[in-house]
Symmetry: C2
DNA sequence: CGTTTGCATTACGTGAACGTCATCTACGTG
DNA sequence: CACGTAGATGACGTTCACGTAATGCAAACG
């Protein structure tokens, strides 16, 4: 079962990131590739984490925030009290994200209205042709 | 109708930003406060724009992206072709945002599932008490 | 009338998130 | 065995989004 390991280059092509980025994420303890000699080999777990990192970034989370979120996904080996704390954090994050989605929905509705208005204006320009000119 | 003008300090308190931030946004042409002598006075329009800026930031848009979005909201005086182009951009943005909301929904569902799993683990720990110890 | 208060400008500093460049090593290949 | 290729390791550079003085001006206040 060593076939689910990927080199840094394969990772880069698959996820459209640079080697620098992957090394940077490792330095920041977001990824934990194993080493074969000097070379990094990225596991399935690293790939799952990277996907979440990239997703988090698209939502404007900082890498530090993302790191905390990531910890929610490998919680299995923690102590109970630690886990309870982790779950509390997860609940907060969940609230954040739901609030965020609300806001995003609002923004989308606003933009849609703007669009309808813009289209109306264009339509009227088309109809009046050289009205003002 | 000069009462809808706000000083920089009033703006800062209302929107919880620093003076530096507001001047920075002006320098980047995101806001256009009028001048009374040297002093900035922020209009209703500036406040509307600032709200959108802060919202955009919460979604991880760069200030430059936000500036483009903002242009969609004061489109009234543009030429027709400009407007059509602007509306095209708006449509793209709208698609972006809807895709983003989809993704956010997915992330929320994932996190909810994680939470349920975590709670289950804790419950089982509670039941088994000193099972492993 | 001196001083505080509020705002201005100018300019250098900073943390995050990488980019880039130089140098080094290990490995396969003709 | 020379050589290209892939990856590693510093270390310095860069962009974005402001923070943080330092300095100046102008109205307001005791």
């Amino acid at each position: 079962m060593t076939e689910d390991l990927m080199t840094i280059r394969e990772m880069c092509e698959t996820y459209e990131v640079t080697p620098r980025t992957l090394r940077f994420y490792e330095a920041k303890e977001l990824l934990f590739p194993i080493r074969e000699g000097q070379k990094r080999l990225f596991t399935k777990r690293d790939r799952a984490r990277l996907k979440l990192i990239l997703r988090g970034k698209r939502f404007g989370f900082s890498l530090e925030e993302i790191r905390q979120l990531l910890d929610l996904y490998h919680v299995g080996d923690q102590q109970k009290t630690q886990m309870i704390r982790t779950i509390e954090i997860a609940r907060e994050r969940l609230s954040d994200m739901e609030a965020r989605r609300e806001e995003l929905t609002q923004a989308i509705d606003d933009l849609k209205e703007q669009l309808r208005w813009g289209e109306k204006v264009i339509a009227s320009i088309n109809n009046e042709k050289t009205a003002v000119g």
